[in-house]
Amino acid sequence: MSKRKLPTQKGLSRRAFLKTTGAAVSAGVVSGAAAELLNAQSTAKNKVAGPGEVPITLRVNGETHNLNVEPRVTLLDALRDRLDLTGAKKVCDRGTCGTCTVLVDGKAAYACSMLAIDAQGREILTIEGLAPEGELHPISAAFVENDAQQCGFCTPGFVMACKAYLDRNPNPTEAQAKKALGGNLCRCGTYIGVRAAVLDAAARMKGGR
């Protein structure tokens, strides 16, 4: 089986992505990835779940949560509606905008395009878990300081995408910074601030975190 990844922002600019797949199918590609994940998971393998609620266990920000959810509930809805972790936002609900970005096993993922049952057995990190209460993660500090946010609705998603990106590419060039977060949309047009924040955060994070 060819190894396919969850939709990550890494190296994926939305426009380039649309060019290769055709605009209409992008949501399909995302759910395809999620479906494959389902097969890959021992817990879900060959079992029919639902239609009623099923018990699931999620590891979020280092804590274990036992929930009962219908199988059709997305990770985003589970985080927002069941765990009151509302930092990840619902905007398009179909893998287009990146506003719901969380980290799943260290990789950026659109929480709207992943089922909660598929997120079992994985380490999920949301914006709330990025830094202890009252402290700012260096990336968040870089976003604040470069004013890489206006209305702020897209910002948690950008910050999480930035974390996933910098964890893999700690030394981005300016040109890379422009493309780095291409899977996240901002209507306030903070892209230029975001580019500066990515570079600034990279500098701040030198020497480990």
Binding site: D84, L136, S140, G152
Partner: protein
């Protein structure tokens, strides 16, 4: 002289920056109320028709649902705004696709969605109108007597007799498409409503008092029984000026009937298809000039498509009309403008508010006029720019010390305009990817038009606590533009206080006075000035009761926060409360004639020259903006980083408007209502945007500031399309310039 205040002009931290970046800021969909249920809207499937019946599929347990129709409205069935023509829920006739007809409430989101799909509206279709031309031609009368919501006529000099003196006459017609605001946070409201307590709503909005104004007649309640509170709001750009009133009304009607809180959040497709967009427009120009390129006569016919109901169209039309002749001096001008009805969802406010449409037409047209005169586009502009003491089309004498040639020189120097223009002309001949550089010069009036601000009579209050903290009370909303930060700077400077001591009260109609809507680039210039004046009033009260010295402290130094606190505590002990209020009064000498549409249309203008550099791939028809220079004069810049962010954001939206954002209509319905097929700019589409301010303090703005928010929306589209013309020779007259539009235009050039 008063010393230069220390905070105005500085990049202080954004007030709510930490809460937003950590995800702690609570937007409406992040709020949960005990016992809350969800709401959904059943909408018209047709553009125009008579409602025959509403069928409820029997497979749904309807007894569990709250169902609201027009009959359940306790008061007047309308969304009160300018005219009361838009129903809150259609009762007999629907006038556009997606018009709300039935509301459903249920605690289970998934079941609610199934139920929404299980309601079928049986309608008898009526003939509908979908284009400006059909509406003007009265192909069918769908609104009033003639389909016209509003018209204006601006006359200056004598156009009819001026044509005889024109040596060259150039005509042109220009079109702009609809544009979706696409604020990233979808619209949403939560309502608690019952006959005992009245109606309270929380939600995403720009204008709490507009929502308040709409809810009062809808429920037939007294004003004090209606309360509107803004939640943190994820962008608006005009899109949350009026439509939130509709959603608040719906949530409140459901809550009123259900007896429990109701949350009504739109999903993306619903938000895109059902709520307002920028008005499409069509502009005809006829311009007379002398052989050496001096304007003799300007005749402009400007029409916008208002959609099915009047809503804000008259005021959008007004701004578009006044901006239609730009920052130029012409002795003879006639501008005729109309807003007409079509059977599409009502078009509404979007950053720029009519000006981007008419400015696009003018700045594209003036490149054609320059060509006809054998002049470079910049030389033609230079010969016709308005100067201090000159008059605009509405016969407003410019008292500001405006220097447009200087702004243009700066923009050209920063963008290397002349050298690039020459080089591109040389190199394009054999290139597949052709490059071009173009510009637009424009102005944007700050605040409400004409006597609008006087009519609004906005109020701001500033109060102090015994602990020495200061609260600014205003209904102006923070929607990402930085209002809270700017108000803090203004109040802190006026009082000579640490900004940490300033709080901005959350916009709540039960707690803050009506400082007017958060629109029209008025928040900093108009409301900020009221903050300044109210803070000054507070300080004077303290000084006259014993807090010594200018700037609030002994010997003219700023008072320490301890001294300030002591003075506040002392005053409050003696008098009970410490509060100062200020109401808007127009600057001296402002005169506006609403009948003739002449006079001081705006107290002040922002002035700008934007330069865009593009590459056009003549094989794939792909257009890229490679560089962008934005030079503007906006009075004193209060916060350089926030101001720069406003310009960058507006330019990004302007790039989308020019090239990508194409609303596809089918019988009045937006058919590409998803972010997958309505394409807005990503990071990869936005070039470096280089922003420069020339400062020229405006005496009646706070610290010298003018308005800024809408300005950057006006210039990018004409600058980009002018650049495309330099690159390709194709004279494109409509936006968005999608690859299809470009292909057609290039075939025209080669044919």
């Amino acid at each position: 002289m008063h010393p230069e205040p220390p905070l105005i002009g500085q990049a202080v931290p954004r007030k709510e920056g930490r809460d937003k970046v950590t995800g702690r800021a609570r937007y409406v969909d992040d709020l949960v109320f005990p016992g809350m249920m969800y709401g959904a809207t059943v909408r018209s499937p047709v553009a125009r028709g008579r409602i025959r019946a509403i069928h409820f599929d029997e497979n749904i347990p309807w007894q569990e649902f709250t169902v609201v129709t027009a009959q359940d409205i306790p008061g007047e069935n309308c969304v009160a705004l300018i005219l009361h023509d838009q129903p809150c829920l259609a009762a007999e006739i629907v006038n556009h696709p997606e018009e709300p007809v039935v509301l459903l409430g249920h605690p289970d989101k998934h079941l609610l969605e199934e139920a929404r799909r299980a309601v079928r509206l049986e309608t008898e279709p009526l003939p509908a109108v979908f284009t400006i031309e059909d509406s003007l031609a009265k192909k069918e009368i769908i609104w009033g007597e003639d389909n016209v919501f509003k018209s204006f006529l601006v006359e200056k000099g004598d156009v009819d007799s001026a044509w005889a003196r024109a040596e060259i006459v150039v005509e042109g017609e220009y079109e702009t498409g609809a544009q979706e605001q696409l604020y990233i946070e979808p619209n949403g409201m939560i309502a608690v409503a019952n006959p005992d307590e009245g109606v309270t709503v929380w939600g995403s909005m720009q204008c709490p008092y507009y929502v308040h104004k709409a809810l009062v007649p809808l429920f037939g309640l007294s004003k004090d029984k209606v309360r509107v509170i803004q939640a943190e709001t994820g962008g608006g750009f005009g899109g949350k000026e009026e439509y939130p009133s509709m959603i608040a009304a719906h949530a409140a009607l459901l809550a009123w009937k259900a007896g429990r809180p109701v949350k009504l959040i739109y999903d993306r497709a619903e938000d895109m298809a059902a709520t307002t967009k920028r008005h499409p427009s069509r502009t005809r120009h006829r311009t007379g000039v002398t052989r050496d390129g001096k304007l003799v006569a300007l005749e402009i016919d400007f029409v916008i498509d208002g959609g099915a109901y009047c809503t804000l169209s008259p005021v959008v039309l007004s701004r578009g009309t006044i901006h239609a002749a730009g920052p130029y001096e012409c002795p003879n001008v006639r501008i005729r403008s109309r807003a007409v009805a079509t059977n599409a969802p009502p078009h509404g406010a979007f950053r720029g508010f009519g000006a981007p449409q008419s400015v696009f037409a003018l700045e594209r047209h003036f490149d054609q006029v320059a060509k006809a005169c054998g002049l470079a586009p910049d030389e033609f502009r230079r010969r016709n720019f308005v100067h201090a003491g000159g008059t605009l089309a509405v016969s407003q004498v410019i008292h500001e010390n405006v220097d447009l040639p200087q702004l243009m020189e700066r923009a050209f120097a920063e963008s290397d305009y002349h050298a690039k223009r020459a080089r591109f002309a040389r190199e394009n001949r054999d290139a597949r990817v052709k490059k071009g550089i173009g510009f637009a010069a424009f102005l944007h009036g700050a605040g409400f038009t004409g006597s609008g601000e006087e009519y609004l009579a906005s109020v701001v209050a500033v109060e102090a606590t015994a602990e020495g903290r200061v609260r600014v009370l205003a209904a102006s909303t923070e929607i990402g533009q930085g209002a809270n930060t700017v108000f803090t700077q203004i109040a802190a400077d006026t009082l000579g206080l640490d900004p940490e001591l300033i709080d901005i009260a959350p916009p709540d109609t039960a707690a803050v006075p009506n400082s007017g809507p958060t629109v029209a680039s008025r928040t900093t210039m108009i409301v900020g000035k009221l903050v300044e004046s109210a803070a000054l009033g507070l300080k004077q009260t303290l000084v006259s009761s014993g807090l010594p010295g200018e700037r609030g402290g002994p010997e003219g130094r700023p008072c320490t926060s301890e001294e300030f606190q002591r003075a506040c505590a002392e005053y409050i002990r003696k008098h009970g409360a410490l509060r100062a209020t200020c109401q808007y009064a127009p600057p001296p000498g402002i005169k506006w004639d609403d009948e003739k549409y002449q006079g001081d249309a705006y107290g002040a203008y922002a002035w700008a020259v934007y330069v865009a550099e593009v590459s056009v791939d003549t094989v794939t028809y792909e257009i890229r903006v490679d560089d962008f220079v934005a030079v503007q004069e906006v009075g004193k810049v209060i916060h350089p980083v926030l101001a720069t962010g406003q310009i960058e954001g507006g330019v990004a939206q302007g790039i989308g408007y020019a090239l990508y954002e194409n609303v596809v209509w089918r019988e009045g319905r937006m058919v590409n209502a998803q972010m997958t097929n309505y394409i807005m700019p990503t990071s990869a589409d936005v070039p470096p945007i280089r922003v420069f301010f020339e400062e020229n303090p405006y005496p009646f703005g706070p610290g010298g500031a003018k308005g800024i928010g809408e300005l950057p929306m006006d210039g990018p589209a004409p600058a980009i399309v002018n650049a495309i013309e330099q690159a390709t020779g194709a004279s494109i007259t409509r936006i968005p310039v999608t690859p299809e539009v470009l292909m057609e235009a290039l075939e025209g050039v080669h044919a």
